[in-house]
């Protein structure tokens, strides 16, 4: 038996015909050894998923086609197999799990039946034998009470559970290779930690090889043995984990590290990779990265670089690595540009927005007469204050109500109780015209740059809309002038004014959204996960832009996010939310370096990090976020908390002051009850 399990040579894929044909995979070669985790890293649209689908010969039909190359599993050529032979390989010897657990399971089949289906296909197990095996598998993937879950339907399971079921289905065929396509991207960090843990455990037990496809450097750092970086359809670098994180050779890999936001980069601008991944419907004659590479020189624009093996394990596709050439020595990496952050001045800054006891409940209605039978307490009494010119980050897992807070502040949702005070004006009391005219003061930027612009309107019309509604600018000509200026301000060109949203990339669209919000001269912008749909390199561009705008215009941000590294980079203060309430609030340094609430601790420890070594101890959170329609008694967090005491389930803990700027709601820090803070 050889070491090599899967050998891919010069694989090329083409989609479509004629001029518009796309080549998402262009001459990719790699090998995966038995039992190892091989990570394929890259930005969206660079061909990672297509590579995986090509291995299983599942390319979109009829357009997709494997043009050349070979894929050998244990020496057997997969591309030469018949379709029926291939079916035995899929799910049997190579299994795959997908990004979106919500749509990968059939909603009308029970969980057990879906796993049994795979067993019947590949192991020829039926009836009681199959049932026994399904229960074993469910146990294996850490689903408690397997016998009951067997008969449940996917909608009865949470996202993390569904992904576990997907893994169980993949394991049913006892595969040699598991392809995991962004397996945790759709999950929260605490759930992600659980699933990654599970995958590691299963890999050890079954001796599978894993092909992990991801864009997340943190996940790669935690999981992978060897790493290949993909860019525009080609592999640009391949190296073992330690070598890659120690000394990556390709400029693109280096840039990826530099673009990651983190607290140590607070005083500087993030390094950005200018531009975007080039479209793949062209024939390349030069290095694909050349136009975004600052170390590119004349040769790079003339000739495609070959693959250079640095040593037995590491290889790179870059002219810089060619020993026969002498590239111009550069001034090494661009110096990190320091930014003058708006330092909190000695005088306490004026409070722009003050939220007190904000509650937003959604009634649950039943029956013919819409009787109210319960309330979803999406936001259940929170207090916030945002000083002008500063950034408050609202952090929490999905479903904790943070987006609802943002919309409640903007009066886009009906507030159940509490007050929202903006420049000492009570917004919840404003109605009709009075509210309408104040709307220019607070704006919102949404998460998904694809659904936040009307596809039927040109960019100019989109940005102008708010100005017309707020009667800013006299006449069309003046407004158009302002639109052009705004476009320049966010780093686009004024001639983009007549284009339509679909002509722009994700990052450019987010810039347009920012310009749209700026058009009405707001003082506060609610940023609802503005970078979570973007790639790392583009995320850095947007974060830099937001930072600049804050410095220039003195804007305040309410930054809603689940990404703690972004918070560490951008925010001044941070509020951690759990199930409709804020559990901890304080200055960024205090909370991130010295978290007091057990939930904050767990959240921080669950984030996969680069270069963190093995010193990190991950605090596992069991179970999922409870339903906000029926929250646990007392402290909402106590069922998942490792420090839970008797009083935690009795009553919600009061605010405890850790320091003048740091509050936490937990009995562990309550002076009156005098509990001993844990180590």
């Amino acid at each position: 038996m050889t070491q090599t399990l899967l050998q891919v040579d010069n694989l090329s894929v083409r989609i479509g015909n004629g001029d518009s044909a796309i080549r998402p995979v262009d001459g990719v070669s790699f090998e995966i050894r038995r039992g190892e985790t091989f990570a394929l890293l890259g930005e969206s649209g660079c061909g990672k998923s297509m590579t995986a689908l090509a291995l299983l010969r599942l390319l979109p039909q009829p357009a997709g086609e494997i043009v050349s190359g070979s894929v050998r599993l244990d020496g057997e050529e997969l591309l030469a197999l018949t379709e029926s032979g291939m079916r035995a390989v899929r799910g049997g010897r190579i299994a795959m799990i997908f990004q979106e657990p919500m749509t990968s399971l059939n909603p009308v089949m029970t969980v057990g039946a879906q796993i049994a289906e795979s067993l019947e296909q590949h192991k020829n197990l039926r009836g009681e034998a199959a049932r026994q095996r399904v229960l074993e598998l469910l146990d294996d993937v850490g689903i408690p009470d397997a016998a009951r879950r067997f008969g449940e339907y996917p909608h009865q399971l949470s996202g993390g559970m569904k992904q576990r079921v997907m893994i169980a289905i993949a394991l049913a065929g006892d595969p040699d290779l598991l392809i995991a396509d962004e397996p945790t991207t759709a999950l929260d960090v605490t759930i992600q930690a659980q699933v990654l843990d599970l995958m590691r455990k299963l890999q050890r037990e079954h001796g599978m090889a894993v092909l992990l496809i991801t864009h997340d450097l943190g996940v790669v750092s935690e999981m992978a043995d060897r790493i290949a970086v993909m860019y525009a359809g080609q592999l640009v670098e391949q190296a073992p984990r330690d070598v890659f994180f120690g000394k990556a050779r390709h400029p693109y890999s280096k840039k990826l590290f530099a673009a990651l936001p983190d607290s140590s980069k607070r005083e500087q601008r993030l390094t950005v990779i200018p531009g975007t991944v080039p479209p793949l419907n062209q024939v390349f004659y030069a290095c694909r990265f050349a136009e975004r590479c600052e170390r590119a020189w004349e040769l790079c624009n003339r000739q495609q670089p070959d693959w250079f093996a640095v040593d037995a394990e590491q290889g790179v596709r870059c002219h810089l690595a060619d020993p026969t050439l002498s590239p111009p020595t550069s001034s090494d990496e661009q110096d990190a540009v320091a930014v003058a952050r708006s330092q909190p001045s000695t005088a306490p800054p004026q409070t722009l927005l003050e939220v007190n006891g904000l509650k937003i409940h959604f009634p649950i209605q039943r029956g013919l007469f819409k009787r109210v039978v319960g309330q979803v307490r999406a936001v259940d009494g929170i207090d916030l204050a945002i000083p002008s010119g500063q950034t408050l980050a609202l952090v929490g897992e999905s479903g904790c109500g943070k987006t609802t807070v943002g919309k409640g502040i903007l009066q886009l949702l009906n507030v159940t109780a509490g007050s929202v005070c903006f420049e000492s004006v009570e917004l919840t009391q404003l109605k009709g015209e009075a509210l309408r005219s104040r709307r220019s003061d607070f704006q919102i930027i949404f998460q998904d740059p694809y659904s936040s612009m009307n596809p039927r309107m040109s960019v100019g019309d989109i940005i102008e809309e708010g100005m017309i509604a707020q009667r800013i600018g006299a006449g069309k000509a003046e407004r158009r002038q302002r639109v052009a200026k705004l476009l320049e301000q966010v780093g686009l060109r004024p001639e983009h004014i007549h284009r339509y949203p679909h002509e722009f990339s994700g990052g450019q669209r987010q810039r347009i959204c920012i310009a749209r919000a700026l058009a009405v001269n707001p003082k506060l912008i609610v940023c609802d996960e503005p970078t979570s749909a973007l790639d790392v390199s583009v995320q850095a561009q947007i974060l830099n832009l937001l930072q600049d705008l804050q410095n220039e215009l003195g804007l305040s941000f309410l930054f809603i996010t689940h990404d703690l590294s972004v918070v560490a980079y951008l925010a001044d203060r941070i509020a951690v939310m759990y199930l409709g309430r804020i559990v901890e609030e304080g200055n960024v340094e205090d909370v991130l370096e010295n978290p007091r609430h057990p939930y904050t601790e767990a959240l921080l420890s669950a984030v996969p990090r680069v270069n963190d070594g093995d010193g990190r101890k991950i605090i596992r959170l069991e179970g999922d976020l409870p339903s906000p329609s029926n929250p646990p008694t007392g402290c909402h967090f106590h069922p998942r908390c490792r420090h839970a005491q008797a009083q935690c389930s009795a009553e919600y803990p009061p605010v405890s002051e850790v320091s003048g700027t740091h509050q936490v709601r937990c009995y562990l820090w309550d002076r009156q009850t005098g509990s001993v803070p844990p180590e």
Binding site: A63, R439, S440, S451, N454, R456
Partner: protein
């Protein structure tokens, strides 16, 4: 000559104006142009489009009505007009309307379909099939000359059709050659090889078929009854062609009536939710649960009674029949908006949660503006698909309703009325089959073309299919 503008004429031309405006508007907007370009690239769609255009042109010609001036009598001061309203199409069809035989005759027959007792020259009574007054009247010996005459005329029609198509081909080549800057010869060659984006070759071939059919009618119908005659001796081909307008009017005007209900109520229900939604939902579920035919029958009969008691309202028979046709469109429209309304409500519920609608809310944009600017344009593709698909259903509905007896006026020529009459004709011995066949084949061609075209439109506008391309 006095022009007459019937109610349906006015609405048909209004509709044409709307469509022309829409086309001009769509030409300037890329997101609307792109799917249409996709539509006209399919061969089947282009063939279907040619068929539809032929029907439409016929229908439009039949929608320009006038009354002929009667010859001046001696001492008459004012011009008197004929009592019957005719259309441009009647003018083009020439004598077809007036060549009335005594009763049934088969297609291309020279004699009647029934025996009659005639008194021969020698005074004896004979039971024979008498010669027709018009059909094949120009032949001395119909038995030996008939086939030759038909073949000759068909051949001449073929020659004429070829000539016309070649002329069109040349014109098209010149135009395209200029547009592509390749010269007309190169453009002609590209079309012939089928290398153009828009399948011009298919369009020309389909057009040729229709030009040939038209030429056949022109050449044959003047001396033959191509589809025979009906019970009172009227030419069936003439009736079938005149029925085209009725079918098109029902198919299009009903949509015009239905759209405002469906679009505005659907959008309001989806966007405002709450009690507005409850009321609108209540309205369409109630309307949906009443059998449509019952409602239509009741309203049409009421209308009938009203028109019978107020004869002074109508100057001519045609005006009366026309009003009934319009009323049928109205009532069909009122009963058929519920499906589209429900669809649009659902889509609006989805759209209103989209972030660009919320962004507009955050700007304080007025609700009406949000509806018009953000929701309506994003619903238009659904409306378009529904309209095109509904069209063929409505043409068929007219036939069914007329068959039941609550459709268009008995004097209006329509496929439904023809099929209704065929009920008795089929029961006769020997059977009269040509009426039904003529109505069926004309209707079939229209509905098939509409369905094929609807398929192409749906494929081009469906975002899920577009993503796969």
């Amino acid at each position: 000559m006095m022009w007459v503008l019937l109610w349906t004429d006015a609405l048909v031309f209004a509709l044409v104006a709307v469509i022309v405006t829409f086309v001009l508007y769509a030409r300037k907007h890329e997101h609307m142009r792109a799917p249409w370009r996709e539509v006209v690239r399919g061969r089947i769609a282009v063939a279907a489009l040619v068929v539809l255009m032929t029907y439409t042109v016929t229908g439009l010609l039949d929608s320009v009505h006038f009354r002929k001036a009667l010859p001046m009598q001696d001492g008459q001061q004012e011009v008197q007009y004929a009592g019957d309203v005719v259309s441009l199409l009647d003018g083009l069809l020439g004598d077809l309307a007036t060549q009335v035989e005594k009763t049934y005759s088969a297609p291309f027959a020279t004699t009647l379909y029934t025996r009659e007792t005639v008194i021969a020259e020698d005074g004896t009574q004979q039971r024979i099939f008498p010669r027709l007054k018009y059909g094949g009247a120009h032949l001395a010996d119909p038995v030996s000359e008939r086939v030759g005459d038909i073949a000759l005329r068909s051949l001449r029609a073929l020659g004429e059709a070829l000539l016309i198509i070649l002329l069109l081909y040349a014109l098209l080549s010149a135009w395209l050659g200029r547009r592509w800057n390749t010269g007309s010869a190169a453009a002609a060659l590209r079309m012939l090889r089928g290398e153009t984006d828009v399948p011009w070759r298919t369009a020309l071939v389909t057009l040729f078929v229709f030009v040939f059919l038209a030429a056949l009618i022109v050449n044959l119908a003047s001396v033959w009854h191509v589809f025979g005659t009906d019970k009172v001796g009227k030419d069936v081909l003439y009736q079938t062609i005149k029925s085209i307008r009725t079918g098109l009017v029902i198919g299009t005007l009903t949509t015009l009536v239905m759209l405002p209900f469906a679009v505005f109520l659907g959008m309001m229900a989806g966007y405002f939710r709450g009690w507005v939604d409850d009321v609108i939902q209540y309205l369409y579920t109630t309307l949906n649960s009443i059998p449509g035919v019952l409602l239509i029958a009741a309203s049409v009969l009421m209308m009938q009674v009203y028109m019978d008691t107020h004869p002074e309202l109508f100057e001519t028979m045609e005006e009366r029949a026309d009003l009934r046709l319009l009323f049928l469109c109205l009532i069909l429209g009122i009963t058929s908006w519920t499906g589209l309304c429900r669809l649009l409500r659902g889509e609006t519920l989805k759209l209103r949660e989209l972030e660009y609608v919320q962004a507009a809310d955050a700007f304080g944009v007025a609700k009406a503006t949000i509806l018009m600017r953000h929701l309506l344009p994003n619903l238009m593709h659904l409306v378009l698909i529904a309209v095109v698909i509904d069209f063929s259903g409505l043409v068929l509905a007219e036939a069914v309703l007329s068959y039941v007896g609550v459709g268009v006026d008995a004097t209006t020529m329509s496929w439904g009325n023809m099929i209704n009459r065929a009920r008795l004709e089929m029961a006769r011995e020997p059977m009269v089959w040509w009426s039904l066949l003529a109505a069926f084949s004309f209707m079939f061609m229209l509905v098939l073309a509409a369905n094929l075209f609807a398929d192409a439109v749906r494929d081009a506008f469906d975002p899920r299919l577009r993503a796969q391309r």
